[in-house]
Amino acid sequence: MPQYKMKIDLSKCVGCGTCAISCKLGNNTPKRGSGQTFNRADFITETTGSFPNTKWTALPVNCNHCTNPACVAACPVAPVADTTCEPQPGLPSGGRKAMYKLNAANGGIVLHDDSRCIGCRLCQRACPYSTANVGAQRAQFSVISYNPTLSEPYGYLTSSQQAVLDCTASESEVRDAVTMTDIAPAYRNSWTYTPVTGVDVNDLRTPGNVEKCYFCIHRLKDATLGATENAGDRRPYCVMACPAQARELIIDGSAISGAKVLAGKSYTYLRKVVLTTPTTTGKSRPNVFYVGKFSNR
């Protein structure tokens, strides 16, 4: 099994945001807060040119699942031996930190283990596509978001405030009405993912954890959703939902011709103010590839 890649065809994309909403729904990510978007898939937009030669473009984004991921390098959690993962110092057969990368034979997805994360956010600082506070840094997107320690990720769903007293509902009543005992949206997509290594990939967040795109590994590996990996319902939410079919997950190692990666200029409008320098040496080598042009002008 080679490195999984995502191909995003900008000529098909219309910037509608269905991918972003679908990801937010399927992965039950919290509402924006504390400078975090919790949008694992998102889109960034840019207007260029002067009237009437104006261009507006949208660029779908998510984790690049880099071949040389800065986030994994920065993760300070001691790796445990795991032969499904990329090698780590002292673990030539593979090591699994809190942030880790499956080796190419296992798809090369950059994963995050909630149960081992210590919430230090070094990964968020190291990732060239992430930022610690999207509001303060006027960034449109951050691959990695952070659920603050000792703060309920879905705290806003505990409110008992009623717009019209005794007549309209409240967040807590909605959860009670669907007997959602966890603090989670009523439309929570309940799922479990239990790989052989016992990695903790959950449908809900816990405080003190970072989170990011997993290429919806829980779907890719869930044979009950369909016969073929990355087919039908087993595709990542953003891929499955895209009404323009602009997103595609490539799992067979085939080359993507004419592709570009998110780098250079794009980098600056992901993060308008760069506070930190990527801590890795060498290029991150993203595995999300863009083909085509959004605009025909």
Partner: protein
């Protein structure tokens, strides 16, 4: 989920101390056990999305892990041809609507008799029984004084089962006032289309096969009537060579992708369309197979010459000689702001294909951005007429008015006559409330509807002003379903005045039915909670796209969480039952008897059975045996693409009828097209009076309607046109052209009500995240608002050209007040300095500015809006031939930094 345990404690400590010292293995042993259901327990239930007018066939994913069936995802119906099995962003947003924390839980009653924007209604919860008792008492009181007609009902979003609610009150209880929202939707567009190809309704656009899209005031990947399908096809078709030109004063989404964006000055699209028609004729580019006139010569400034006859169209030479010959691209340039050379180029691209059958694959797509403007009917007609010149109506790759029908699988309203008593009938026959009382005033609002019907449309937005004026009589009781007219109608504040205690003729007793306490509901006496149409109710509806017509069921995929009822059926049953208890049995008997089909449905004994009966009745047709077969097919969990023969299919919640290859000839010509060129084997023709695409017809349906209007008001065509503010038309008639000028597409300049100091033309558009006016309480709406070009997340922004921003002295992020001559209080919102609008115009999405509705829609529920409502600054003005409310009113606004 927050579960403070030793692990969390360790993690907190670690974050403070030096990271990396901890052993992951240690932490891993403390991993909590997971106990969630597997995703594989999920099931999909078909339904129809009512988030916009596309009405997509969808499927709703549910899970039952918590013990209650919950909706967790939405996708396109995998078997519906209309939209490739996908939905636009609106589909999934329905989940934040259905589980919105501000849903109405219970019937509620106002306890503060004083009604006004700043008066707290002091709503208290009441039982359904009490609510029905209060409403029935009001309705019976009106009947007792022969004032049933003073009950005015308005439907906002509705389904095919609306018949149970509205028709039973309208035709059995008796009131002429069953008013639809269509006049604030796109009625003016229907009017233009009827004049051109005879269709009162909307064409399907065959993007799959089109080679050229000319988009006028429409953004198909964001709104209009085939959003998901347009998203699915646009990029792929452009990659395959289809050209796209977007004409819109604002850089919309499709314009952003298009080969050309032509930012025409607001209200001047008609001038560009006329100039294009002129140039196509001068260059000899028209489709001669369809139009005929093969040897004609059209020279600017001169009458046309030639001998060949006209085929599929009618009146082209008259149109040229009267109007087009002087409408040169050079004439249009200063009016439109688009250069003559660009107009010529686009005309040549549009009509320049080498073969006639390829010319017919160019679509001139008319949108409400053009139509829903004052005096815009002729501009809309000119734009549609371009399809006539290239022969693209009813042609593969063109604009398709003739669609496969699903009517064989639907029933209309059961007959009411046996249930209407004398009191009801007398009220039913009274003057309708949206019409003006006096003939002198009604002259100014012909409201020409389908066919030749003067007064044939229902002018939704007249209700508020007429209630203030008590014309034609006082509105004593108002009932609305799924509408928020004090937010959605131009001149929105008039609705607040009409519903307030300060109304000199008294505020009507107001019953509001909906999912949220919207702004209009804040003036209600009774508020009734409605189930969510797409996810919780049984109903049905039909829609078309991509050469298919789908009739689909809405199913109650998930249960109601509170005391809501399905507004169009179960609620009606409850009301009729209460009326029955109080001695008026007719409505109850009608509902009980007429949706019952022996051998198919049972006689209902409660509201749930009634709701199920109505759905089954409306979604089938014919004998009980036919109905049983149809019902069994449509409710089947598998899809049978040939259930009814070639091109038809049923199952998975839909019946689908698709154009077959036999509907077009080998050149892609549809049956009406072939009739038009004299194929006598075809019997169909376009719906116009002549059966052809009409540019001018002295005896057209419009001529009949205008003549009837002229006669009933003892005036002339010129008198009508003067009264309805079509001043250029009136002048043209008076200049010696005569009445024929009113019967062809021609230049009518935009009517702009300006006043000193109001220097910017306001452009309204629909957010692609609007589930009409009902999604602004969704956090996702705000989180992803940047999907509307120029807009920003968690903000409501007015887009201002940089030159104008400098002149006003504002920058991005500033707060401004926007006022208009009709509303000097205005609205406030944020500024976005943006190059996607031309100097002198500003653009803002409709949707936000709610001061009630809910926690995300309003800044402070009940008082402080979040952003500004466009309709507060847009005046209550009309396209008067159709009676449509004009959201694109070319409103002049003043912008001041605050």
């Amino acid at each position: 989920m927050i579960k403070i345990n030793r692990r969390e404690f360790l993690k907190g400590s670690a974050a403070i101390g030096v990271a990396g010292a901890l052993s992951g293995t240690l932490l891993n042993t403390l991993k909590p056990a997971t106990a969630h259901a597997s995703e594989s327990t999920a099931t999909w239930t078909p339904s129809m999305c009512l988030g916009c007018t596309t009405w997509c066939s969808v499927e709703i994913k549910t899970q039952t892990d918590t013990g209650i069936k919950r909706a967790v995802d939405v996708r396109g119906n995998q078997n519906a041809n209309t939209h490739n099995g996908y939905v636009c962003p609106r589909g999934r947003m329905a989940l934040q609507e259905v589980y919105d924390a501000d849903r109405i839980k219970t019937p509620m009653k106002r306890t503060n008799a004083t009604k006004g924007r700043n008066d707290n209604p002091n709503f208290v919860p009441i039982s359904w029984d009490e609510a029905m008792d209060l409403i029935a008492t009001q309705m019976l009181a009106l009947r007792s004084t022969n004032e049933g007609h003073k009950l005015v009902m308005i439907r906002g979003r509705y389904t095919s089962v609306q018949t149970a609610l509205f028709d039973s009150i309208y035709a059995v209880y008796g009131t002429p006032n069953f008013i639809t929202h269509s006049a604030i939707c796109a009625e003016a567009e229907n009017f233009s289309r009827q004049n051109c190809n005879g269709q009162w309704g909307y064409d399907d656009y065959d993007i799959d096969n089109a080679k050229y899209l000319l988009l006028w005031g429409v953004d198909p990947t964001s709104s209009n009537r085939m959003v998901a399908g347009a998203i699915a096809q646009l990029g792929a078709r452009m990659n395959a060579g289809m050209k796209v030109v977007a004409i819109d004063p604002r850089l919309n989404t499709t314009a952003a992708k298009a080969h050309r964006w032509l930012p025409v000055k607001p209200g001047t699209d008609g001038a560009m369309a006329l100039a294009m028609a002129h140039h196509i004729l001068v260059k000899g580019l028209w489709n001669k197979t369809f139009v005929g006139l093969d040897d004609y010569v059209f020279t600017a400034g001169s009458n046309a010459t030639g001998t060949f006859s006209e085929k599929g169209t009618k009146g082209l030479v008259d149109w040229w000689n009267t109007e087009l010959k002087n409408r040169t691209p050079e004439w249009a340039e200063p009016i439109t702001g688009i250069s003559a050379s660009t107009i010529k180029t686009v005309a040549e691209e549009f009509a320049g294909a080498a073969t006639d059958d390829d010319k017919a694959k160019s679509i001139s797509w008319l949108g409400p951005g053009v139509s829903m403007a004052p005096a815009a009917a002729y501009s809309g007609w000119a734009i549609l007429a371009l399809n006539g010149l290239v022969g693209s109506f009813d042609h593969t790759g063109g604009s398709l008015p003739n669609l496969p029908s699903v009517s064989a699988y639907q029933s209309g309203t059961p007959l009411t006559s046996a249930y209407t008593d004398a009191v009801g009938y007398t009220a039913y026959k009274k003057q309708r409330f949206d019409l003006y009382a006096t003939s002198g005033v009604q002259l100014a609002m012909p409201q020409i509807g389908s066919g030749i019907a003067v007064g044939g449309t229902k002018s939704t937005n007249r209700i508020a002003q007429n209630a203030l004026d008590a014309m034609p009589y006082a509105c004593k009781m108002l009932l609305t379903n799924h509408g928020n007219f004090a937010h959605s109608c131009g001149g929105a504040t008039i609705w607040e005045q009409a519903l307030s205690s300060t109304n000199p003729n008294g505020a009507p007793y107001f019953v509001f039915i909906g999912t949220h306490v919207g702004e209009t509901a804040m003036f209600a006496d009774i508020v009734l909670p409605a189930k969510h149409d797409m996810l919780q109710a049984k109903a049905s509806t039909a829609q078309k796209a991509r050469k298919s017509m789908v009739h689909g069921l809405m199913n109650d995929a998930v249960p109601a969480l509170w005391e809501e009822k399905t507004s169009e059926t179960a609620l009606t049953w409850a009301l009729a039952s209460k009326l029955n208890d109080k001695g008026y049995a007719n409505m109850y008997n009608y509902l009980k008897d007429k949706f019952y089909v022996s051998g198919f449905t049972s006689i209902p004994t409660n509201e749930d059975e009634f709701e199920a009966n109505v759905q089954k009745y409306i979604a089938t047709s014919g004998s009980s045996s036919n109905r049983n077969t149809q019902w069994s097919n449509i409710t089947s969990t598998t899809y049978n693409p040939t259930a009814y023969g070639t091109g038809k299919g049923a199952g998975n919640g839909i019946v689908q009828v698709t154009y077959g290859s036999s509907d077009f000839d080998s050149n892609g010509r549809g049956v009406m097209w072939r009739y038009a060129v004299g194929d006598t084997t075809m019997t169909k023709s376009f719906g116009t009076k002549s059966g052809k695409i009409e540019f001018y017809n002295a005896s057209s349906k419009l001529a009949t309607a205008l003549t009837a209007h002229k006669t009933s008001h003892s005036t002339t065509y010129q008198g009508i046109m003067t009264a309805i503010n079509y001043t250029d038309t009136a002048a043209g008639i008076g200049s010696g052209i005569g009445d024929m000028y009113a019967l062809m597409p021609h230049w009518e300049s935009p009517k702009i009500a300006s006043a000193s100091g109001y220097n910017y033309t306001f452009i309204d558009y629909k957010s692609r995240l609007n589930r009409e006016g009902r999604s602004q309480n969704s956090p996702w709406y705000h989180e992803f608002k940047s999907c509307d070009p120029g807009d920003e997340k968690w903000k409501d922004v007015v887009k201002i050209n940089p030159v104008d921003a400098a002149a006003i002295g504002v920058k991005t992020g500033d707060t401004v007040q926007i006022t208009s001559p009709s509303n000097t209080v205005g609205i406030t919102c944020k500024v976005k300095v943006w190059n996607g609008v031309r100097q002198g115009t500003v653009a803002k999405a409709y949707g936000q500015g709610h001061w009630a509705t809910g926690r995300y829609a309003a800044k402070t529920f009940g008082s402080v809006p979040n952003g500004g409502n466009n309709n507060a600054v847009i005046p209550a003005e009309y396209e008067r031939l159709s009676g449509a409310t004009v959201r694109n009113a070319c409103t002049k606004v003043k912008i001041v930094k605050v």
